[in-house]
């Protein structure tokens, strides 16, 4: 009965967190640098793999197969980031990070891997490309930030490329889920029907449709949050440029 009403809880919590946490210790920083370097390298491998496969085949079709394993490995590896937030060496929200990582993992395993028929779709290439470019920039951003030597170019890239990459990735993801629907319905993949001993049912087809619908409220929120962040982080250029 003592659930507190929300008020200006976010701002207050942020202040408290800033006072309490002095940032990760030396060991944690070293670990995080290694982690981010490895992830940058991994996504570079995927990028190179895509380019090489394209040059070899001469078409965009079916490039997924050439980077399937590193994609699965490095995207799943991102689950560690949830742990980093939970332990406190990264000052992000566990819930937010968890949500972002799990949605990627979901698309990688529960859609693309599970429904083999969509693997040759071009929409897969669309989101894989978006993810690859985004992650290379993001992980190098974190690496340089941790080493306190962040080149402005990386900062600019991180807060600018998303303007195109985000909608591109979302489009690829939605098209892929949409392509998977008929096969899920036909085979009853991951679905449980009544009657059964535990009186439970789950329709994966309906679940996927609900996921697609959830993009409608979620995507604009995340997108405009990033735009606001961009103004805050990159906004000072305009101040320097002002001559009164």
């Amino acid at each position: 009965m003592s659930a507190a009403a929300s008020g200006t809880s976010k701002a207050a919590h942020g202040d408290v967190a800033a006072k309490r946490k002095k940032g990760p210790g030396a060991l944690a920083t070293a670990y995080l640098v290694i982690y981010n370097v490895v992830m940058t390298a991994g996504w570079l491998v995927i990028a190179v793999g895509l380019v090489r496969a394209y040059l070899a085949r001469g078409s965009y079709h079916g490039l997924y197969y050439s980077i399937e394993k590193p994609l699965k490995f490095f995207q799943t590896g991102a689950v560690l980031e949830i742990l980093h937030c939970a332990v406190g060496i990264v000052p992000s929200s566990v819930v937010l990070t968890g949500f972002q990582v799990m949605s990627r993992v979901f698309l990688t395993w529960a859609v693309t891997h599970s429904v083999k028929e969509v693997q040759s779709e071009d929409s897969v290439l669309l989101f894989v490309t978006a993810w690859t470019v985004t992650e290379i920039i993001r992980y190098s951003f974190y690496t340089f930030s941790l080493l306190n030597h962040l080149p402005y170019l990386i900062k600019w890239a991180r807060y600018t490329f998303f303007i195109v990459l985000y909608p591109m990735g979302v489009t690829g993801e939605l098209l892929t889920i949409y392509a998977a629907l008929p096969y899920v319905q036909k085979t009853g993949l991951y679905s449980v029907t009544l009657p059964n001993k535990y009186n439970f049912s789950f329709d994966y087809y309906t679940f996927l449709i609900l996921i697609m619908i959830s993009y409608i409220p979620l995507f604009p929120q995340l997108y405009f949050h990033m735009i606001r962040q961009r103004k805050k982080v990159l906004g000072h250029i305009e101040d320097y440029g002002k001559v009164e």
Partner: protein, 284 residues
Amino acid sequence: IFFLQVEVLDAKTREQLCFLDKVCCFCSYTEGKSLRDDEILQNLPVGTTATMYFKDLGPQLGWTMVFLAEYIGPLLSYLLFYFRIPYFYSNRYALSSSPHPVVTLACVCHTFHYTKRLIETIFVHRFSHGTMPLRTIVKNCAYYWGFSAWLAYYINHPLYTPPSYGELQVNYALILFVMCEMGNFSIHLTLNKLRGDGPKGRRFPMPNKNPFTWLFFFVSCPNYTYEVGAWVSFSIMTQCLPVAFYTLLGFIQMTIWAKGKHRAYIREFKDYPSLRVAIIPLIL
């Protein structure tokens, strides 16, 4: 009698909203804490000039209305599924009834549970804070109404499968359910009597002659313990996974509340019994 000067400032901009010259009795405030409706200016640690901060909390609803809104949904929606209102299930089952007695029993139990909650909200509980913001209420109602519809759908489904151990399972679960409901009610009565003393004689709840209150020897919030128990027994009675899942979520939330309350008790009372834990005797 002495008079106080009071200035009211906006909490965000710190600009003066109004200035009261000669104030006799009013409510008061210390930096960071919000006032109760009935606090008296004179009794609070301020000098001859008091500064109050005004903060608009947005649309709010009184606690009684909040609980009524939250509980009326599950009460009614479950019944819609029980009577198999047309379009909830496929047409040939419209307005039919289940051949399984456990389904009717589950309806009685569920309806009793929420009716009891509604009655307690109106006649038993006394609330400390005045209100709750509108957004939270919408979220809570969605949770209660959504989940009760979801589990009502399965229990009253034409393809429902009764529990594996039959009548034995149902009867044991029913006994446990009734005991937990009575326990929960006893605790609410006990807490209600405690609050009646007002802020002067603040004590923590203690076990009394009612055997259901003896859980107070072991936990700080036996009302939550009994609530979890009631839902566990309902899960066993219906052998329905959605019910078990809902029970789990409720358990997690109530554990968070119980731990908070437990910590508050320990902080406030130096002689708080050390055997007590938050919600599960000897464990949690």
